[in-house]
Symmetry: C2
Subunit: 337 residues, 2 copies
């Protein structure tokens, strides 16, 4: 199997574009100097970019190429979801080590395009360059949102209730398990529920539909994704909204397998779940008067759990309430330290 | 001066966003999960992404940080120009080595923002991550173009005349001179005209206004930028248009300083200028009946030279005509080999 540098940029791009089908609103797709698309009528453009770097966000030794492709798009779709936007298109910028097998790029595209197809996202362009350094997968995602449907971080008011989709703490445990797992040459236990938890890290499910519905039904007053974890999210919404947030530790949705993992190690599952990053759930706030709208969203998103975990407070600090006591909120996760 | 890892992602982002002013059509700027902008009324969105990697596209040893920032945006504005688009906004994704001084990032932003300001481009968002590898500066640029004003590569017809803006061959000579120049510790001659030529490599001027005017006046039938050089551009338009192109070697706009450089070394200036990459001129074709439109464009772009260098042919091959003889076109430049 040839390496990417043996194939060359042109052939690599041809291999990728040959796999793409473009919807009617793509006026100029890959292959020209830039892509041209029709904006969604009566909507605003939503734009975000996020890079995944080997050795920082993933490790090629235990993250398979399709998962790298999936993650690179997922983190961007999650950002669009947090704005209430419908995803539409993506640009893919790759910096490739010269000895990377071309089959690795194919498999990465498998993961990326499978996720794109499920959310009807068109890959409309991109760029490939060689790099003397690690694999960098940089995706820009473009979505659309109605002018009065935008979910920002800054709309929470004291008294609003705080909710989170899905469950938290799984990605960090999944990553730790992968680092130890037998498949990677480590000696971790091959526990099926942990294998499932690892999927939370490997192939996170961006909450695209939940974000869209929270925006369209005007159910949420503020929203943010948990890419840097719950501690970061809670602080993010509180700061942007000039308010505080009190989280009820007992209400946090933490899976049994995640709790068990921490119990076995004598670590605090709550603190770990709150501090850990790489979660792609949505954290959002709802006015008490809009609970009915939230119930409607809940019906529309099917079996995705939505948990009420706290309340927005007037006092500008974030706290954790546990067994009647209040304590400072654990510090969050910062990628770059 | 602290390094980027000492400052951390959050502070770095704050330092950058504090410098930005956002136009009225930016509904949500940096600091939320994604940026939200109003599309240009009655226009299409044009999107492109291009990464600059240390050791591949530039070398930190002789390319100052402001030039790195300038180039990262310029290459993307050039792609928009080649589509006839008006640039509007950009996203900046940085992968930073942990020991990079924070002042380096500031200086990089100086260069990027100076160019952005000249073309009224708003930096609306981005991403910063650490990297164990080289500096990677990935920019996504967003522009607008009227539905019937798009310039693609595929619109050339036999008989169309082929034009190029500015001059060619300067970037490659500029780069070679920088690699030898006294400032970089080498022993090259400190020739003022070569210092000026080096600017072609360091701070290329994307032909934003020329591209917009060629589209708006419907003067060009096809257009492409010369990021991978003229040989690549000629082949790109010919292939996309199912036609051939014959270039008149004597008509190529090559600066005297560039010719002198090659003469002194006994190398062929024409071949080097045609094969070299990193040019950000526009190559475009014009129907003979539309020469009047082109003259109008020429008046609107002021003193930017526009040279007629060849003709589109029916026979699907690209050739160079020189002193009455026809020869095969030199091979182009491929970044990734």
């Amino acid at each position: 199997m040839p390496t990417v540098s043996e194939l060359g940029e042109r052939v690599l791009i041809q291999r990728i574009t040959a796999r793409l089908a473009q919807p009617a609103w793509v006026v100029v797709g890959p292959g020209d100097d830039a892509a041209v698309i029709e904006p969604e009528p009566r909507a605003l453009d939503v734009l975000t970019t996020d890079a995944q770097v080997d050795g920082i966000h993933f490790d090629r030794r235990f993250v398979p190429p399709d998962a790298i492709g999936h993650r690179a798009l997922a983190v961007n779709l999650s950002d669009l979801a947090a704005m209430g936007a419908t995803p539409r298109a993506a640009l893919l910028s790759l910096a490739l080590p010269e000895d990377l097998p071309a089959s690795f790029v194919d498999a990465m595209l498998d993961g990326l395009l499978a996720l794109a197809s499920r959310h009807r996202v068109a890959l409309i362009g991109g760029n490939i360059t060689q790099s003397p350094g690690p694999l960098v997968v940089d995706v820009t995602a473009i979505g659309a949102v109605g002018p009065r449907r935008i979910l920002t971080r800054g709309g929470a008011r004291p008294g609003d209730e705080v909710y989170v989709t899905g469950s938290i703490g799984g990605a960090a445990v999944g990553l730790a398990w992968l680092q130890e797992a037998p498949a990677s040459g480590g000696d971790g236990p091959d526990d099926p529920s942990l294998r499932q938890t690892a999927e939370r890290y490997l192939r996170p499910e961006p909450r695209v539909r939940a974000g869209m519905m929270l925006g369209r039904n005007r159910a949420a007053s503020a929203c943010m994704d948990l890419s840097d974890g719950l501690a970061d999210g809670v602080r993010g919404i509180a700061e942007a909204s000039n308010a505080g947030i009190a989280v009820d530790a007992g209400a946090l949705p933490i899976d049994a397998a995640v709790r068990r993992w921490h119990e076995q190690r004598g670590t605090d599952a709550t603190i770990a779940a709150v501090a850990g990053g790489d979660e792609y759930e949505l954290l959002f706030t709802v006015r008490p008067a809009h609970r009915g709208r939230l119930r409607q969203v809940q019906r529309l998103v099917g079996d995705l759990p939505i948990s009420r975990i706290g309340v927005v407070t007037k006092e500008r600090k974030v706290v954790m309430r546990e067994a009647g006591r209040e304590r400072e909120f654990p510090q969050g996760f910062e990628h770059f330290r």
